[in-house]
C-alpha cells in the first residue's frame, strides 16, 4: 500500500499520459457525471456528489473537496471497449468482384480509465468473458482491452440504487485493476491509499510515489470502504435465484411489470454487462461502395427477435422477462456467474423507475414454489 496525496494525483495522470495513454474519467456535463476524455485533476468532479432513486438522478454539491464523492453515472466503461458503433469493413466493387478493407478500432490507441468503480471492474471482467472467453474472440474488443489501463477507485460513498454487496462486486475492488485507489478525506488530510494489481500498475505507482502507507492510513482506507458497505440500503436476494426464475416463467408479476415497462431500451444501454448488437449494411447510391457496421442493440427492440415467419418475443412482457432472466438466471448457464454487478444504473435510468431488485423480491414473494 502506497500513499498518493490528493495534490499528487496529477502526477499519476501525467505519468500515464507520458506512457502514451489517453485518459478517460468522470467529469461533469449536462447535469450528470459522465465518462469522457480528461487531462488533469481539474477535470474531475471535485466537490460533486449524486443522488439517485428509481428514475431519478441529480447532481449535488458536496460540502467537501472529495474528487470521487459520487457513485456511477449514465455512462459505463463499456462504451470505450465495446463502442456503440463500429465499422467492421468497407467493400468496393471492382468489376465483377469486390475488395474488402477492414476497419475496426485503432489498434494503437491506449486508454487509461481513471476512477473505475469496483462494480464496473466486475462488469469489464464479465464482458471479457463474453467477448474474449470463448472460441471466437472479438478482435476489436480484445485490442481495446489489452491496451486499457485500469485505475479503480474503491467506493467510500454509496448511492440509493447501489447493491454491489449483494452481488459480491463491491464496494472494494479485489481484482481486475492495474491500480486501486481509496480516497481518504478527514482530519485535515486528503490522500489516496494505492495498491497495484499488476506489474505495470506497480511500475506506474513506483514512478509516482515511494511513500508506503502507514498502518493507520491503510486502516482509514479500509474503514471508509467498510462504512460504505454498511451504508448500502438496497439489496438483492440472490439465493437460488437462477432456479427460482426458471420456475417462475409464468409468474403474474411479468404482466405487472409489462404495464410499466416502456421497452425504451434504456436499461440495456446503460448496463455495463449488456452486450447485444446488430449488424447493419449500407450502400451508396451508385452501388459501388458498401459498408458493414455494428451498433448496440437491445433485447427490448422488436427487430432483435424478428425471424422468418414472425417475432419470437412480440410482447413487452416477453421481452422484459427475457432481459431479467438472462441477467439473473441464464447467464449462469452461459458464463457461470450472474450477469448483474449491482451498479443500479438500470434502476436510475429507467424512466418508469422499474427496480430490478423489487421485481426479484416480488417474484420471490409470490413464487410458484414459495
Amino acid at each position: 500500500m502506497y500513499i498518493i496525496d490528493s495534490t499528487e494525483l496529477h502526477n499519476l495522470m501525467e505519468e500515464l499520459i507520458k506512457r502514451g495513454y489517453l485518459l478517460i474519467g468522470p467529469t461533469v456535463r449536462s447535469g450528470a457525471i459522465v465518462l469522457e476524455s480528461i487531462r488533469t485533476v481539474d477535470d474531475l468532479p471535485r466537490g460533486f456528489g449524486d443522488e439517485q432513486e428509481p428514475s431519478h438522478y441529480s447532481l449535488k454539491r458536496r460540502n467537501d473537496a472529495m474528487l470521487f464523492g459520487f457513485v456511477v453515472g449514465p455512462v459505463s466503461w463499456k462504451k470505450f471497449l465495446y463502442p456503440p458503433r463500429l465499422t467492421m469493413f468497407k467493400a468496393t466493387r471492382a468489376g465483377k468482384s469486390f475488395t474488402i478493407a477492414p476497419e475496426g478500432t485503432d489498434k494503437n490507441r491506449k486508454l487509461a480509465f481513471i476512477g473505475v468503480r469496483p462494480c464496473e471492474v466486475s462488469g469489464i471482467l464479465m464482458q471479457d468473458q463474453v467477448f474474449t472467453g470463448g472460441k471466437y474472440v472479438d478482435r476489436a474488443y480484445k485490442a481495446a482491452r489489452d491496451n486499457a489501463f485500469i485505475v479503480a477507485v474503491n467506493c467510500t460513498v454509496t448511492g440509493g440504487n447501489c447493491f454491489c454487496a449483494s452481488m459480491g462486486t463491491g464496494p472494494g475492488a479485489t481484482r481486475g485493476f492495474d491500480i486501486a485507489l481509496t480516497e481518504v478525506l478527514g482530519g485535515g488530510k486528503h490522500y489516496f491509499v494505492a495498491s497495484a494489481g499488476t506489474p505495470r500498475g506497480e511500475e506506474v505507482l513506483g514512478a509516482v510515489t515511494q511513500r508506503e502507507a502507514t498502518e493507520p492510513e491503510s486502516r482509514s482506507a479500509l474503514d471508509a470502504v467498510a462504512r460504505a458497505a454498511e451504508s448500502l440500503t438496497k439489496r438483492m436476494d440472490i439465493r437460488e435465484l437462477p432456479q427460482l426464475l426458471k420456475d417462475n416463467f409464468e409468474n403474474p408479476r411479468w404482466d405487472d411489470v409489462a404495464k410499466r415497462c416502456l421497452a425504451c431500451t434504456n436499461c440495456t444501454m446503460v448496463c455495463p454487462t449488456c452486450f447485444c448488437s446488430t449488424v447493419e449494411d449500407a450502400t451508396d447510391l451508385t452501388g459501388m461502395h458498401a459498408e458493414r457496421s455494428r451498433r448496440w442493440d437491445s433485447c427490448f427492440t422488436l427487430d432483435f427477435t424478428k425471424v422468418a415467419g414472425g417475432n419470437i418475443r412480440p410482447s413487452i412482457r416477453a421481452r422484459y422477462r427475457q432481459w431479467l432472466t438472462h441477467k439473473l438466471s441464464n447467464w449462469m448457464d452461459q458464463f457461470g456467474t450472474l450477469g448483474c454487478v449491482g451498479c443500479g444504473r438500470c434502476i436510475t435510468w429507467c424512466p418508469s423507475g422499474i427496480d430490478i431488485t423489487a421485481e426479484v423480491d416480488a417474484i420471490r414473494g409470490n413464487s410458484v414454489h414459495a
Partner: protein, 257 residues
C-alpha cells in the same frame, strides 16, 4: 449505352414542403442523387416535368380534399415504389388537429363563401387511401434517412430505419437523459428514432416528431409525466402534436381530454 437511370418523382399534398426540401438540403449528396437518378418531377427544384410512370415516387403531405384522393390514386398508378415522407403523409400532420373539430364550422368562420370550399372532414395519411411501400417518419424527415431509403430501393435491399425509441439514440450518442436528470417531460421513450435525438441533446424533451415507436407504452409514459407534475391538459397536448392522429398518440391524448 449506359443503363437507364431510375426515374424519381416528388409529389406534394397538404404540407409545408419541409420534407421535400430535405432532399435539396442533402447538399453534398444531392449531386450524387442527381447523378444516380433521373429527377422526373420535383417542383421545388426544377420546372422540368417528365411524364410517368416513375420508378420511385416520394409523396409528401396529408390527404385533405376529395381532389387529393383522386390525385393520390392516380400517382399510385404511376409509381412502381411509393414512399410516404414526413408526419403529414404518414400520420396526417399537425393539420390533423382539425380531426377533433367541426371543419364546416371552420370554413364558415374563415371564408366569405364557404360553399366554394370542398374539403374532407379529416386530414389523413396517404396510406389510408392507397397502398404505401414505405413510410418515412419525421417532422421533418431526416435527410440521412431519406438517402438511406433511396439507396436501399435503388440497391434492392431493406432500408435500415430502426423503429425503436429515441432513447436508444440518446444513449448511442451519450446524451444524458433529460427526464431522469432534469425532470423534463420527454416523449422519447414512446417515439420512434430517426432524428438523432436532437432535442434531448439540447436539453429539451422530445416532441414526438417521428411518431410512435414500434410498441409504445404511452400509458406508462403518461403516468410518469403525471409524477413529474404535468397536468391532464399538458399530457393531452404533449401527445397531440405533429403526429397527433397516429393511433397510439391519438388514443393517449384522448385518454387525457
Amino acid at each position: 449505352m449506359p443503363p437507364k437511370k431510375p426515374k424519381v418523382a416528388v409529389f406534394k399534398f397538404a404540407s409545408c414542403d419541409g420534407c421535400q426540401l430535405s432532399l435539396l438540403d442533402a447538399e453534398d449528396e444531392l449531386l450524387l442523387v442527381a447523378g444516380a437518378v433521373d429527377i422526373a418531377n420535383f417542383p421545388e427544384a426544377s420546372r422540368r416535368v417528365l411524364p410517368g410512370p416513375y420508378d420511385i415516387g416520394l409523396v409528401e403531405g396529408s390527404i385533405t380534399t376529395p381532389h387529393d384522393v383522386e390525385r393520390v390514386r392516380e400517382i399510385r398508378k404511376q409509381c412502381r415504389v411509393l414512399i410516404a415522407i414526413g408526419a403529414c403523409a404518414t400520420a396526417g400532420g399537425i393539420q390533423a388537429l382539425r380531426n377533433w373539430k367541426d371543419v364546416k364550422e371552420f370554413t364558415r368562420t374563415v371564408y366569405a363563401s364557404p360553399e366554394y370550399i370542398s374539403t374532407l372532414d379529416r386530414s389523413m395519411p396517404v396510406g389510408s387511401y392507397i397502398h404505401v411501400d414505405f413510410e418515412l417518419r419525421g417532422c421533418p424527415i431526416n435527410k440521412h434517412q431519406l438517402l438511406e431509403v433511396l439507396n436501399a430501393y435503388l440497391n434492392k435491399r431493406k432500408p435500415t430505419i430502426p423503429t425503436s425509441s429515441v432513447c436508444m439514440e440518446c444513449k448511442l450518442r451519450g446524451t444524458v437523459c433529460v427526464m431522469v436528470a432534469q425532470r423534463t417531460p420527454c416523449l422519447g421513450p414512446a417515439t420512434q428514432a430517426g432524428c438523432g435525438a436532437i432535442c434531448p441533446t439540447y436539453d429539451r424533451g422530445c416532441y414526438g416528431c417521428f411518431g410512435p415507436m414500434e410498441n409504445p407504452n404511452t400509458g406508462a409514459l403518461a403516468e410518469h409525466f403525471e409524477e413529474l407534475g404535468e397536468s391532464r391538459q399538458d399530457i393531452m397536448l404533449a401527445f397531440r402534436g405533429f403526429n397527433a392522429y397516429a393511433e397510439a398518440f391519438r388514443k393517449e391524448s384522448d385518454a387525457h381530454e
